[in-house]
């Protein structure tokens, strides 16, 4: 019993957020009087996949002691680039993916290098990067998004494997993989350590700059994957599809327990963080709460969630 208690207290598993997630689901089911099928919940999970993936990236940036405000623009860019390259032809899927992710890697690299080598604040750098990307895709498209996504690629977002949406499965698989990397590999340990204190990491002989840069690259790549996923969902090139993802990904990470100080948080918390946000959104659409009402309740709920979560964390430590 004592051992159990200790394990609970010192575990870095975010139990609190899961409890909140369960509560939200309960509210969801109660307030829709059961008119909503489990399939609809899975559908919500499906449409949450892009946010889920990019939020994992954001969490990694936060763990690295940074922040990435360019993920939204990156997602928008990937949508425009991959749609115009694929342009409905399935044989162009591969080049579309590769070029998109290649661009993302470059963006992450630029973010990381500027932040670490020039000691600039991540907020400023990634915000400027986001403006540059936006300009980049305006120049690229001349303001007219064009191209669409081939059916075979859209399967990623629209297909179902048995009773599970493909998008959801991909998200969970990525989660498992990244969680494994963060928790069980030397790289993951180094990332947490460096994020918590770059000075100590450097003195411990870690390639601290390299680790931080790799974190930003990873974040951008995940934003890229989210962009691909979103493109498969949207099906066409469309301007600014990623805009909302920047703040939402941060909110999801923080609801999940990530801190802005680096080294604190986990992907295990980000998952319910994302689900809480999207279930809430969907609940409000279903309840027919107007746009204004959505803002009202979103504000309220995020604040309350995080407050409850903070309280929980304090008690546990």
């Amino acid at each position: 019993m004592q051992a159990m208690k200790e394990k609970f207290r010192y575990s870095n598993f975010p139990f609190g957020v899961y409890a909140l997630f369960a509560a939200i689901i309960l509210v969801f089911l109660l307030s829709t009087n059961g008119t909503v099928s489990p399939t609809h919940l899975l559908n919500i999970a499906r449409s949450a996949a892009p946010l889920g993936i990019v939020a994992m990236g954001q969490t990694i940036a936060l763990l690295a002691g940074g922040l990435d405000l360019s993920v939204g623009a990156t997602i928008s860019m990937v949508n425009l680039v991959c749609a115009s390259i694929m342009n409905g032809r399935s044989e162009r899927i591969l080049p579309g993916i590769l070029i998109s992710l290649g661009l993302c890697a470059m963006i992450g690299l630029a973010n990381g290098i500027i932040i670490t080598k020039f000691k600039m604040q991540p907020f400023l750098v990634t915000m400027a990067m986001s403006i540059i990307i936006e300009g980049g895709y305006y120049v690229y498209t001349q303001g007219i998004p064009s191209g669409n996504i081939p059916k075979s690629f859209r399967y990623l977002a629209e297909g179902w494997w048995g009773s599970l949406p493909v998008a959801f499965v991909i998200w969970i698989a990525l989660w498992g993989l990244l969680s494994l990397i963060l928790r069980k590999t030397t790289y993951g340990r180094r990332l947490y350590f460096t994020g918590a204190s770059p000075v100590v990491a450097k003195q411990s002989g870690y390639p601290a700059d390299g680790i931080l840069i790799s974190a930003y690259v990873l974040t951008s790549l995940l934003a890229g994957l989210a962009g691909l996923m979103l493109s498969a969902y949207v099906g066409v090139a469309s301007m600014g599809v990623g805009t909302e993802y920047t703040l939402n990904s941060i909110a999801a990470s923080v609801i999940g327990g990530a801190a802005f100080t680096g080294g604190i948080g986990s992907l295990e918390g980000t998952f319910p963080g994302v689900m809480i946000l999207v279930v809430l959104q969907s609940l409000m659409t279903i309840l027919g709460i107007s746009n204004a009402g959505q803002y009202l309740s979103q504000g309220l709920v995020i604040a309350v969630m995080v407050a409850v979560n903070q309280f929980q964390m304090k008690k546990n430590k």
């Binding site: 405000l69 500027i114 020039f118 000691k119 600039m120 604040q121 907020f123 400023l124 750098v125 915000m127 400027a128 990067m129 986001s130 403006i131 540059i132 936006e134 300009g135 980049g136 305006y138 120049v139 001349q142 303001g143 770059p198 000075v199 703040l247 941060i250 909110a251 923080v254 609801i255 801190a259 802005f260 107007s290 746009n291 204004a292 009402g293 959505q294 803002y295 009202l296 309740s297 979103q298 504000g299 309220l300 995020i302 604040a303 995080v306 407050a307 903070q310 309280f311 304090k314």
Partner: protein, 314 residues
């Protein structure tokens, strides 16, 4: 200037230099840039952002951030548009109302931070969303009418500067002295340097944080008042861009997001730099598509050069 004030003000030097280079380059490259009319425009355009930057600055100094300024600004334009009617009295009333609303928002932010320990970024994003909801209920589109007399008053020019920017400058001078030379101001820096230690030294940290967020809300609301005069109407979305821009202005001006470092002086230059980027690009006829890229590059590249020298900010 003595003590750490000197160092804090020094943080603004790079932004001054960047501004200097920008002005010089623009003046050489574009003849229209130099005309008085244009300079007057820049001053008028910078007023609102520079005032919001003061609000943001104070919050950044204590190691927080205030994303709710955007909705406070929109809300404030709505209040002024709805209540300013046609006498100067009612206009004044509407301004007080707006300031009170700003203070209330700040109070809520502060309470969320000190009593519920919600990270500043999150609670202020929450109040931002909440207040935006209220804005949209009050005014789904733009509407109302700002008292014309009042709007005209803020646009009155004295020489090349209008009343708005003069008010902004006055606020900067006030903020400068308050932050650097009063107990309250020094407490803000101390809190930004380390809340726990500040508490141990007898500074009422919680109370100060509350006050700072309230002041931030009020200053943002005041920026909204200035903005309402500029757009003569209330609008639920008009403040949206100011949250990010105000942080950017402060950071460009050398204010650290970790608290305790920097000065409002820098934020002023930051705000002017951001305003100028747009103006210069319009003057040089840069294609709209490239304006974004240019803006991003100017933001980062100009400061990158200085950052190598600036003390490492963790």
């Amino acid at each position: 200037m003595t003590g750490s004030v000197k160092k804090q003000v020094k943080q603004a030097v790079p932004s001054m230099a960047v501004l200097g280079v920008m002005i010089a380059a623009a003046a050489i490259l574009s003849p229209t840039f130099r005309n008085a009319y244009n300079i007057r425009n820049i001053a008028a355009q910078a007023a609102v952002l520079s005032v919001v930057a003061i609000a943001q600055c104070k919050v950044l100094f204590i190691g927080g951030i205030d994303m709710s300024v955007s909705s406070v600004i929109s809300f404030s334009t709505i209040l002024v548009a709805l209540f300013s009617r046609d006498t100067m009295h009612t206009a004044l009333f509407s301004i007080l109302l707006a300031l009170a609303a700003g203070a209330l928002t700040g109070l809520i932010n502060g309470i969320g931070i000190v009593t519920f320990q919600i990270p500043a970024m999150i609670i202020t994003i929450s109040t931002q969303a909440f207040l935006k909801g209220i804005c949209l209920i009050l005014m789904p589109g733009s509407g109302g009418k700002v008292n014309a007399e009042f709007a005209a008053f803020l646009k009155t020019r004295i020489g090349i500067l209008n009343i708005s920017i003069l008010l902004a400058i006055a606020m900067y001078i006030l903020a400068f002295f308050i932050l650097h030379y009063t107990r309250f101001g020094r407490n803000i820096y101390a809190i930004g340097n380390g809340e726990v230690y500040a508490e141990q030294s007898g500074i009422k940290v919680k109370k100060n944080i509350l006050i700072v967020y309230m002041i931030s809300g009020m200053i943002a609301a005041f920026a909204g008042v200035l903005l309402s005069a500029r757009i003569s109407t209330g609008n639920p979305l008009v403040g949206d861009s100011y949250a990010m821009d105000s942080v950017a202005a402060a950071v460009v001006g050398g204010v650290s997001m970790n608290g305790g470092v920097g000065s409002v002086v820098g934020a002023f230059f930051g705000a002017v730099i951001l305003t100028l980027i747009n103006n210069i690009m319009n003057n040089m006829g840069i294609s709209p598509y490239f304006q974004y890229i240019a803006k991003g590059i100017v933001l980062v590249a100009s400061l990158m050069i200085f950052q190598i020298k600036r003390k490492e900010i963790k």
